[in-house]
């Protein structure tokens, strides 16, 4: 194997490993979705989903996360067409929007806990905070990851294999938005309407 083949082979292996991780993560989210759907009516006399959630607020954060995912795709595209400046702008937008989403989620959680509707109030709220909180934790880790990429790119310049590494981050970030489609639909839209 020559140098180029070896690099391509390593790239393939990293992709396979990362994809396997994402699929197992899918399973984890699936189990938590099932748990949430089973426990959603067990409110222990407390407020139910339709009394707690404001769908307009969630619509805003959903669109913010979707736009962040879109910006991440554009950044990946710019990178593959060697447009470094556009890449930096799109990556900045991705991170800012991701941080805004996380901020809104933390505000929502803080507000709920302050009103006495924390994860200890009922089985419904425990399931809710576990599912949505795990997604939020993934977003926080993604932001950290993007920050590390920016830092490494800044330190190492063109020696840093940003195309390959950002490709994995882009898959992760898109995947988180895919999970959010179902949180928006099942937890919030159905929670408010049904």
């Amino acid at each position: 194997m020559n140098e180029a083949e070896l690099t391509a082979h390593k790239h393939d292996k990293a992709q396979l490993g990362f994809w396997a991780y994402l699929m197992t993560d899918c399973m984890l989210f699936a189990s938590l979705f099932a748990t949430y759907m089973i426990l959603r009516n067990n409110t222990n006399g407390g407020p139910a989903a339709h009394e707690l959630f404001s769908l307009g607020f969630i619509l805003v954060s959903t669109i913010i996360l979707l736009t962040s995912s879109y910006m991440c795709g554009l950044a990946n595209l710019a990178l593959h067409h060697n447009r470094r400046k556009e890449f930096v702008v799109y990556l900045g937008a991705t991170m800012l929007l991701g941080a805004a989403f996380l901020g809104l989620e933390l505000y929502e959680f803080g507000h709920m806990i302050a009103e006495g509707h924390g994860p200890d109030a009922s089985a419904f709220l425990s399931a809710f905070f576990t599912l949505v909180g795990l997604h939020g934790a993934h977003i926080a880790i993604g932001l950290l990851w993007a920050g590390v990429l920016v830092w490494a790119l800044y330190r190492q310049g063109s020696n840093f294999d940003i195309k390959r590494k950002f490709g994995l981050f882009a898959i992760y970030w898109h995947f988180l938005d895919v999970v959010w489609i179902f949180i928006f639909t099942i937890v919030y839209a159905m929670g408010v309407a049904l």
Partner: protein, 123 residues
């Protein structure tokens, strides 16, 4: 298989298309959930269908799972297998727990009476 790279603007248009479609489906779900047009299981079915449509759009245009010649086969295969397993977990859990709930909705005293009654029938 060596691919001819698509022009930059055409790939940008693909992303923009997916973004508009996904946002549209989100607004659609929001409007249905807030409005009074549909309710009950019909609403639930339409909301889930909108989510599935958005899943398809994002998998295809953001995760690029449609590029058959360019992606390794294991990616789309493992993706479909994951969704298959995931549906078994979610639908199976809900089905079992619903039945359990339905069959166990007796107070402790009622349950004792019920079980004594069943025992009296013999095995």
């Amino acid at each position: 298989m060596k691919k001819v790279p698509k022009p930059y603007w055409r790939e940008q248009v693909r992303y923009a298309y997916a973004y508009v479609m996904a946002a549209g489906l989100t607004f659609f779900a929001f409007a249905l959930a807030q409005g009074n047009l549909l309710s009950g299981s019909v609403l639930a079915a339409v909301l889930l269908a909108a989510a599935a449509a958005q899943l398809y759009i994002q998998s295809r245009y953001f995760l690029h799972l449609d590029e058959k010649g360019e992606l390794p086969k294991w990616r789309i295969q493992s993706y479909l297998f994951t969704w298959f397993t995931l549906l078994i977990i979610v639908v199976g859990s809900i089905w079992i727990m619903f039945n359990l709930d339905y069959n166990m909705m007796l107070s402790p005293n009622e349950m004792t009476d019920y079980m004594l009654e069943q025992n009296a029938k013999g095995f």
